[in-house]
């Protein structure tokens, strides 16, 4: 049998847990969320594909002036060479466009630009996109090589932290092209 003291303690813990969900995060907590988002975007490799690479004397490096702004709209992509032998995928020099059996995918502008990036998106839009692997959670499928099967396992709080960070970075106006469907020959090569 529970003692009265123990039951009161349980009631207080339950009540406190509900209260926590209702209150906005304090300033310190908001900093922690931003720091967590910064960390996750860094180690999850978002910049590898969403920040265009530029060639330097030391080899390709991310162009941080265009951080996370996706495939540059100014870079016109010619038809990709057909992969041969065990090769499956072709990547652009910027590492922001990828041709494969799915067609051609271009990495998205993740900056908070309102017209070409995530500026109008809500955290729900972002979370549902990652969770479902569909644009805005209900549109076309997100294409490879975006690691949706792995990223869909992010917790809600991790996704919210990532979105908080993405909303905090400089907006870059860059309208990424629509993905291209597979050419019939390429599709059959990949099937």
């Amino acid at each position: 049998m529970y003692s009265l003291k123990m039951l009161m303690r349980i009631a207080l813990v339950v009540a406190a847990s509900f209260a926590r969900g209702a209150e906005p995060p304090a300033a310190g907590a908001a900093d922690e969320v931003l720091a967590r988002g910064t960390y996750l975007v860094t180690v999850a490799g978002c910049n590898d594909c969403h920040t265009p690479m530029k060639m330097t004397a030391e080899g390709p490096k991310p162009d941080m002036d265009r951080m996370l702004s996706g495939h540059p709209e100014s870079l016109v992509m010619t038809p990709a060479p057909k992969p041969e032998g065990p090769w499956l995928m072709t990547a652009a020099i910027t590492n922001t466009a990828f041709a494969g059996p799915w067609g051609v995918s271009f990495t998205a502008n993740l900056t908070p630009d309102r017209e070409t990036g995530l500026g109008k998106w809500t955290v729900r839009n972002f979370s549902e996109t990652i969770r479902t692997g569909r644009h805005l959670g209900r549109g076309r499928e997100i294409l490879p090589p975006m690691p949706i099967p792995m990223y869909k396992n992010f917790t809600d709080s991790d996704l919210a932290a990532i979105f908080t960070y993405l909303k905090s970075i400089p907006a870059v106006k860059n309208r990424v092209p629509e993905p291209r469907p597979p050419a019939p020959a390429l599709a059959s090569a990949g099937s």
Partner: protein
């Protein structure tokens, strides 16, 4: 004192914890057989259970030509609260079914409002002999043979697919609403079934299934006040097929394009304002404007509805065949729209 305090305190704790205790994981598992969901009177599945009502929305969703039957069940003594005429509040225990037929019954989809208020979605796949229908996996089935379906194939949606469409609207029940059940039915609506049209607002109110419906909607059943009958049918089709996602209060409000009609505001102006001569952000279909008056071939809305290329098609889910009858209607409507000069003169 101590003996009295314990039960009271326990009650308080239980009340506090109730939303937590009744999480989805704690709900009863979904029945493995359709016959156990409450649709039929007995295991023979030859007769509907008492209290199950057939209905038919006036602007049905296109499902590649499948013949569909729909039913709803409300627990005894409960009713739908229609205080918000565009977002009805369904009682806990509400169940809805939709049967899809291509020659034979292939699938029955099931929506249930659980005891904790959450909505659950499931699909049951009929055996070829029509004797049983079994719960489909949550991931759906990419393809099952269906001789009379387009391409002789049929896809069972994943639970996520169900949620993608149904959770884009204020209420996840899409075909059972004030506009869809208006007695002022649209005679030009594509694919409308007349069989269950008797289930309308007035009959729902009469049987006590619908409460707090604004009296104005009984006196003047809702209709889309369009410029002409063809526009009314076109906007109704867009409402029934696209408005569940493309509305101004769901997650896709960020697109600033609404194709949903509101019975509270009788004019379709908000829809027209959001599409006619509005630049499309989608540049993969060949058009520039969402709807270019007079030019369906330059209207992204029509081009994407006519496409079944997976990166372009609209709707993105639930259809593999173009609705040619509806596309003719949409094309005629766009052709009839006055251009900007004509509209301002």
């Amino acid at each position: 004192m101590r003996r009295i305090a314990h039960p009271l305190l326990l009650s308080a704790i239980v009340a506090l914890c109730a939303p937590v205790l009744l999480r989805a994981a704690d709900l009863p598992t979904l029945p493995q057989h359709l016959r156990d969901t409450g649709l039929y009177a007995d295991a023979s599945m030859s007769q509907l259970r008492e209290g199950v009502l057939a209905f038919s929305p006036q602007y049905p969703l296109w499902s590649d030509g499948a013949v569909k039957h729909r039913w709803i069940y409300l627990p005894p003594g409960t009713s739908i609260d229609a205080s918000r005429p565009d977002a009805w509040d369904f009682p806990r225990g509400t169940k809805l079914w939709k049967e899809f037929r291509h020659g034979r019954a292939i699938e029955t989809r099931f929506i249930e409002r659980a005891a904790n208020g959450e909505w659950r979605f499931a699909s049951y796949v009929w055996t070829a002999d029509g004797q049983d229908a079994l719960l489909a996996p949550a991931g759906g089935i990419r393809e099952i043979p269906a001789a009379e379906a387009p391409g002789a194939r049929y896809a069972i949606p994943a639970e996520d697919d169900c949620r993608a469409c149904h959770e884009g609207a204020p209420v996840p029940v899409l075909g059972f609403s004030a506009l869809q059940l208006s007695s002022d039915r649209d005679p030009l609506a594509p694919h409308a079934e007349a069989g269950a049209a008797a289930m309308d607002l007035r009959s729902l109110v009469a049987r006590g299934a619908l409460k707090n419906l604004p009296s104005e909607l009984l006196a003047h059943p809702p209709r889309i006040e369009a410029a002409n009958p063809e526009e009314r049918a076109a906007l109704g089709y867009l409402h029934g097929n696209c408005g569940n996602c493309h509305n101004d209060d769901g997650p896709l409000a960020v697109l600033e394009m609404t194709l949903a009609q509101r019975v509270g505001s009788a004019s379709p102006d908000s829809v027209l304002r959001s599409v006619v001569d509005v630049r499309s952000d989608f540049r993969g279909a060949g058009g520039v404007a969402r709807v270019a008056p007079g030019h369906p071939g330059a209207s992204v809305l029509a081009l994407r509805m006519r496409s079944r290329e997976p990166l372009q098609q609209m709707p993105p889910l639930g259809t593999a065949a173009v609705d040619t009858e509806a596309m003719s209607l949409i094309a005629r409507w766009i052709e009839s729209l006055p251009n900007q000069t004509e509209r301002t003169n």
